[in-house]
C-alpha cells in the first residue's frame, strides 16, 4: 500500500476536528463513555502491533503496561494532584522504561516462551500493586474528578478528545515505524531473526526500541482510566481482557499495515460495546473469541489482507 504523508495528517486533523465538534454538539454523555473505550482500544491495539505485528513477538502483557499507566496516574493524583496531561506523559515515560527493562529480560526468549514471560509480568506487577497501600492496595482507590477544563462542559468529553489525540499520536508513531528503517528491521526479525542478524540488522536494539515504544503507548492509554472510572482497583486495571482484546484487534484488522489495528479496534470495540448493553455480557467475550478464530483460520492477514486480495482480484480481471 502506498502511504501519503499529507493525506494521513489531513485525515488525522479531520478526525480530531470531528471529535471536537461531537464534544461541542452532542449532549448525551453515553456516546462519549462508549466511544472512549473504543478509542482506548485503538491505542492499545496499535501499540501491541508495533512489537507483536511488525516484529512477530506476541505480547500477552498489555494489561501490565495498561495497569501501570493507571496506577502511575493514581499515584500522581494522590501525591501531587497533577493534571491529566502530565499524568499521561509520566505514565508514558514509566511505561517506556518498563518496556525497556522487560524487553532486556525477556526478548532473548522467543515464541511461546516470550509470551509466557509477558503474562508473568502482569502477575508480578498486579501483586506489587495489591501490596502497595498508598495507591489503595487490594481495596482499590476512589478518585474524585477535578473541575472540567474549558472549553469542555463535561469531563467524559474531555477524556474522549484526549483519547482521540492519544490514538492519533499512537497511529502516527506506528506509521512512522512501519515506513522507516525500523519497520524494515522489525519485519526482517519477524521473517527470520538469524538471517536478519547475519545481514547486519541490530536485532536486540530494534526489539528493545519496539518494546519500549509499545510499552509507553500502552501505559499512556491506561493513565486516563483513573479519571474515566473514578475508581481503580488491581483486578480490573490489570485485567487479562485488555491483553486478549489488544491482541485480537490487530489480528482481525491485519498486522501488516498500521490501519489494521485501527480497523480491528473500531470494529471489535464497537461490537463489544453494543453487545454489552443489548444482548449479554457473556456474549461480549464470546464475540472476541469467535471473531479471532474465524479470522485466524479464514483470513490470517486480517481485514487489510482481505482488502488487498480483493483489490488484486479486481486488477487481475481488468487486465
Amino acid at each position: 500500500m502506498k502511504t501519503n504523508g499529507y493525506g494521513f495528517w489531513i485525515g488525522s486533523a479531520v478526525v480530531l476536528a470531528l471529535a471536537c465538534i461531537a464534544a461541542a454538539t452532542i449532549k448525551n454523555e453515553y456516546y462519549f463513555f462508549a466511544a472512549y473505550i473504543v478509542v482506548q482500544f485503538v491505542v492499545l491495539a496499535t501499540a501491541w502491533n508495533i512489537l507483536g505485528g511488525y516484529a512477530g513477538y506476541v505480547n500477552f502483557g498489555t494489561s501490565a503496561f495498561f495497569g501501570v499507566g493507571a496506577y502511575i496516574a493514581v499515584m500522581l493524583i494522590k501525591w501531587m494532584n497533577l493534571p491529566l496531561g502530565l499524568q499521561i506523559v509520566a505514565a508514558a515515560c514509566v511505561g517506556g522504561a518498563l518496556g525497556f527493562a522487560v524487553g532486556l529480560l525477556t526478548l532473548r526468549l522467543r515464541g511461546i516462551f516470550f509470551s509466557i514471560a509477558t503474562v508473568a509480568v502482569t502477575i508480578i506487577l498486579e501483586t506489587a500493586v495489591i501490596n502497595w497501600r498508598f495507591v489503595g492496595g487490594a481495596t482499590g482507590v476512589q478518585i474524585l474528578r477535578p473541575p472540567v477544563m474549558e472549553p469542555f462542559d463535561s469531563y467524559t468529553k474531555m477524556l474522549f478528545v484526549c483519547a482521540v489525540i492519544l490514538a492519533i499520536i499512537a497511529v502516527a508513531i506506528a506509521r512512522y515505524i512501519e515506513t522507516s528503517w525500523i519497520g524494515r528491521g522489525l519485519r526482517a526479525i519477524r521473517d527470520n531473526e538469524e538471517a536478519a542478524e547475519c545481514t547486519g540488522v541490530p536485532t536486540l536494539k530494534l526489539k528493545l526500541a519496539a518494546c519500549a515504544i509499545s510499552g509507553a503507548l500502552m501505559s499512556a492509554a491506561g493513565a486516563p482510566l483513573a479519571m474515566y472510572q473514578s475508581f481503580v482497583e488491581p483486578a480490573s486495571a490489570f485485567n487479562l481482557t485488555y491483553s486478549v482484546s489488544a491482541l485480537a484487534m490487530p489480528i482481525i484488522g491485519g498486522t501488516s499495515h498500521w490501519i489494521g489495528p485501527v480497523i480491528g479496534a473500531l470494529l471489535l470495540g464497537t461490537v463489544q460495546q453494543v453487545v454489552t448493553v443489548t444482548i449479554s455480557s457473556e456474549l461480549n467475550v464470546l464475540v472476541v473469541g469467535v471473531l479471532l478464530v474465524v479470522f485466524v483460520v479464514g483470513a490470517p492477514q486480517g481485514i487489510v489482507g482481505l482488502f488487498v486480495k480483493l483489490r488484486e482480484k479486481i486488477k487481475g480481471k481488468n487486465i
Binding site: 453515553y30 463513555f33 487490594a138 476512589q142 473514578s230 475508581f231 448493553v277 455480557s281
Partner: protein
C-alpha cells in the same frame, strides 16, 4: 366573518385540550423506569442473579397493586460483569439513553465505587445495594444503602463482645489480602484493641490461596482464645475444611467472625456439619420475624428454583426487595419522582420493610446497624432444608434479636 372567528376559537380550544389530554396520557401511560447494572456474570453473579429475582418480585408486586403514581414500574437491568470498568458506561446509558427515573446501585462494593462520583456530580438519588463504605470518600447526601451495617466494626462487634463475655485475652487474625476482608479485619483489630486483647498471630494471605493447613497449624501453635477470620467464599470453604482436618486446639473459645460464603446456600450445603460451632456474621437467619418476610421467602423460593439461583436467599435477597419497598414508600408519600424530594424523605423517615424498620444516618448507612452474629449448631450433612429451621444458626447478638447463648469452647461446640 364573526362565525368564522368563533369557529376558529372553538377549534383552537379543542386542539389545545386534545394536546393537553394527550400529554397527560403520555406521562401517566409511561412506566416509571428504574435502572440497575447488576452482576449476572463474573465473581459476583451468584448474589447478583438472586438479587435481581428479588427486585423483579417487588416490581411484579407493586404493579399488581396498580404501580406507583398510577404508572406501571419497569426494571431495566444490564449485566455489569462484576467489573467496575463497565459500571460508568452502563449507568450513563441508563440515564441518557434509557432515561430511567430512579437508580439502584450494582450489587457489592467494587462495581458501585465508580458510580459514586457520577451520581454526586449529577445530584441523583442512589439506593445502595450491599456495598461497604463506598460513600466514605465521596460523601454523597443522596445515598441510601440497604445493607444492615455502617462502619467496619459493626460487622465484628458481636463476635468480640461474645468473646469478651467468655473472658478472652488473646486473639489470632487470618485475613484475605483483598479489599473487603482487609476493611473487615481493620475494624476487628480496633475492637480487639478496645477489649485489650493480645494479638498472638496475624496473617494476611493472597486471595488465590487454596491450602490453609500451614496457617491453621500456626494458629493452633499460638493457642489464641479467639480466632477472627476475614475471608471470601472459596477461602472460607477451604479454611473450614482445614480446621475440620487439623483442628485449632482446645484453647480456642470462638472461631469465625467475618467469613463470607458461610451465608450462601450452596456452600452451607456442601460444608454441612463441618460448620458446627463456627461463630460468624450474617444479615438474616430463620427465626427473625418481620411483617411480610415469611410470605416473601415462600414466593422468592419458587422463583429462585425456576431461575436456578440460591433457593433460600436469606443473605441478600430480602434486602433487595426492601430497596423496592423503600422506593415505594418514598414515592407514595411524596407523590414525586424528584430525587431531592425522595432523598429528603428517606433521610427523615423510618422505612418499613420486610427486613424490619430502617432509619438512615447522615452518611446514608443504617443509623443503627443490625449485623447479626450467629453460631452454627446441630448441622447435618447434605440437607438444604435444615437451614430453613430456626435454631440451626443461633443468634448471639444483637440483643434485640438474640435467640440463644454461646456454646464454648469451639471444640465442644463442634460436637
Amino acid at each position: 366573518m364573526k362565525s368564522i372567528r368563533l369557529f376558529a376559537a372553538w377549534l383552537s380550544a379543542a386542539l389545545l385540550m386534545a394536546a393537553a389530554t394527550a400529554q397527560a396520557q403520555g406521562t401517566s401511560g409511561q412506566p416509571i423506569k428504574i435502572g440497575i447494572g447488576i452482576a449476572q456474570t463474573g465473581a459476583l453473579s451468584g448474589g447478583g442473579k438472586a438479587a435481581l429475582v428479588a427486585l423483579q418480585l417487588w416490581v411484579d408486586d407493586v404493579n399488581a397493586k396498580g404501580g406507583l403514581l398510577n404508572r406501571k414500574v419497569e426494571l431495566i437491568s444490564y449485566d455489569d460483569q462484576s467489573s467496575p470498568a463497565v459500571t460508568p458506561g452502563i449507568y450513563t446509558k441508563l440515564l441518557d439513553i434509557d432515561k430511567v427515573d430512579l437508580l439502584i446501585a450494582p450489587y457489592a462494593t467494587v462495581p458501585t465505587a465508580p458510580l459514586m462520583p457520577l451520581v454526586k456530580q449529577r445530584n441523583l438519588l442512589l439506593m445502595g445495594n450491599f456495598s461497604f463504605q463506598v460513600n466514605h470518600t465521596v460523601k454523597h447526601d443522596m445515598w441510601f444503602n440497604n445493607a444492615p451495617w455502617n462502619d467496619a466494626s459493626s460487622w465484628s462487634d458481636g463476635f468480640f463482645s461474645t468473646g469478651g463475655r467468655l473472658g478472652a485475652t488473646t486473639v489470632a487474625f487470618l485475613a484475605a489480602d483483598q479489599e473487603f476482608a482487609q476493611n473487615l479485619a481493620n475494624g476487628a483489630r480496633e475492637l480487639s484493641k478496645k477489649l485489650g486483647l493480645k494479638t498472638v498471630y496475624e496473617q494476611n494471605y493472597p486471595p488465590s490461596t487454596v491450602d490453609f493447613s500451614a496457617m491453621i497449624r500456626a494458629i493452633r501453635a499460638a493457642k489464641p482464645d479467639l480466632v477472627f477470620v476475614a475471608s471470601y467464599p472459596n477461602d472460607s470453604a477451604a479454611i473450614v475444611r482445614a480446621v475440620n482436618e487439623i483442628g485449632v486446639g482446645p484453647s480456642v473459645k470462638l472461631f469465625g467472625g467475618g467469613m463470607v460464603g458461610l451465608q450462601f446456600t450452596p456452600i452451607m450445603e456442601s460444608l454441612g456439619s463441618m460448620m458446627n460451632g463456627i461463630v460468624n456474621y450474617n444479615t438474616y437467619v430463620p427465626g427473625m420475624d418481620y411483617p411480610g418476610i415469611k410470605n416473601y421467602f415462600e414466593r422468592y423460593s419458587k422463583r429462585a428454583i425456576a431461575a436456578k439461583v440460591d433457593p433460600l436467599g436469606y443473605y441478600i435477597t430480602p434486602f433487595n426487595y426492601a430497596i423496592g419497598q423503600m422506593i415505594e414508600q418514598a414515592v407514595t408519600a411524596t407523590k414525586s419522582l424528584d430525587h431531592k424530594v425522595l432523598a429528603a424523605y428517606l433521610r427523615k423517615n423510618e422505612m418499613k420493610t420486610i427486613v424490619g424498620p430502617i432509619r438512615y444516618g447522615p452518611d446514608g448507612e443504617w443509623a443503627s446497624p443490625r449485623v447479626i452474629t450467629t453460631q452454627f449448631r446441630g448441622i447435618g450433612d447434605k440437607n438444604v432444608d435444615q437451614f430453613k429451621l430456626p435454631g440451626k444458626q443461633v443468634i448471639l447478638s444483637p440483643a434485640s434479636v438474640k435467640t440463644g447463648e454461646i456454646v464454648a469452647p469451639f471444640e465442644k461446640a463442634r460436637k
